[in-house]
């Protein structure tokens, strides 16, 4: 029994002796060239991502965003102040017009 098993194992071990070489499917070079082109396209985006990932660039971008935000908030504040002043001026002008007309009416009574 042991001999039969050993013979079988020897036979299996020699089953790949003189094996023929396998070949890939045709047009391998064309497929590799296509792969190379996609890798080149990928690397452009990869380079951009790599640049953006740098700590200095990242930090600068954050600071820039904060600065823009502060500017926008300030400009909104300024605009509302100017609007308030203009509103007050209009109200005063309106009040004055009313008062003047009232004055005029009280001082110039018809006989």
């Amino acid at each position: 029994m042991k001999d039969i098993l050993n013979d079988k194992i020897d036979f299996i071990l020699s089953s790949i002796d003189g094996i023929a070489k396998a070949s890939p499917k045709p047009f391998l070079l064309t497929r590799i060239n296509a792969g190379l082109n996609s890798v080149v396209a990928e690397t452009v985006w990869a380079q951009i991502a790599f640049f953006l990932k740098k700590p200095i660039v990242f930090g600068f971008t954050i600071l820039l965003l904060l600065f823009i935000n502060i500017l926008v908030i300030k400009s909104i504040k300024n605009r509302s102040e100017i609007e308030n002043i203009a509103k007050t001026a209009t109200t005063q002008k309106y009040d004055f017009a009313i008062n003047v007309s009232v004055l005029y009416d009280t001082e110039n009574h018809e006989p």
Binding site: I12, I16, G18, I19, A22, S23, P24, I32, G35
Partner: protein, 188 residues
């Protein structure tokens, strides 16, 4: 190794790439196939190897021959591919939830270059080869299937001649053990 002319160049350039692919595609595909044991995966590995070769040509320093360098890239890429595939298989959500179930031991790779009457036996051998440690398997396959000399294998694996011989002996012994276990389990 019977070197084609392109492999003898001192400093190959990117213009030689098409020639390198034509001369070495069979060598790369074959080596990848015996490691990953799947024809489609071997195609993927072959493409990946040549992309690496293209990228590495600029920095190729001719410290080893071009074919040795390509063999090295092929073996590393194929072994990495195999590991990644194993991880994906093991990492399945269902398997994680219900626990890892050991795959059923079954010869499933039939090398296209094996004679028809030996196909079943070769499939059993390829199944047993999967269980060998990487270095033993590489040394055994490069000698048995690629027909390389021990000196060439030593150059590819960056090890000594003695180490290659030792790896091959251990590979054979381990294969015997695995095959015995397989036959005892399935045919007793």
């Amino acid at each position: 190794m019977n070197q084609p002319a392109i492999f003898e160049k001192v400093q190959p350039s990117e213009d030689d790439f098409a020639g390198i692919v034509n001369e070495s595609e069979q060598m790369v595909y074959n080596t990848a196939l015996i490691i990953v044991q799947n024809e489609e995966d071997a195609e993927d590995v072959t493409q990946e190897v040549f992309l690496k070769v293209y990228e590495g040509l600029k920095s190729f320093r001719n410290e080893s021959s071009l074919s040795t360098w390509i063999y090295r890239i092929t073996i590393t890429t194929a072994l990495d591919f195999e590991k990644q595939k194993k991880r994906q298989k093991r990492g399945g959500l269902m398997q994680r939830v219900f626990g890892y179930a050991e795959a059923v031991e079954k010869p499933d790779f039939f090398h296209p270059g094996v004679a028809l009457d030996k196909k079943e036996d070769a499939a059993v051998l390829f199944m047993a080869l999967k269980k060998l440690p990487e270095k033993q398997r590489t040394a055994f396959l490069l000698h048995k299937i690629e027909g390389l000399t021990n000196k060439e294998i030593a150059a590819i694996m960056e090890t000594s001649l003695l180490a290659v011989e030792s790896l091959q002996v251990r590979a054979k012994n381990n294969l015997r053990t695995h095959l015995k276990e397989y036959y005892k389990k399935h045919f007793s």
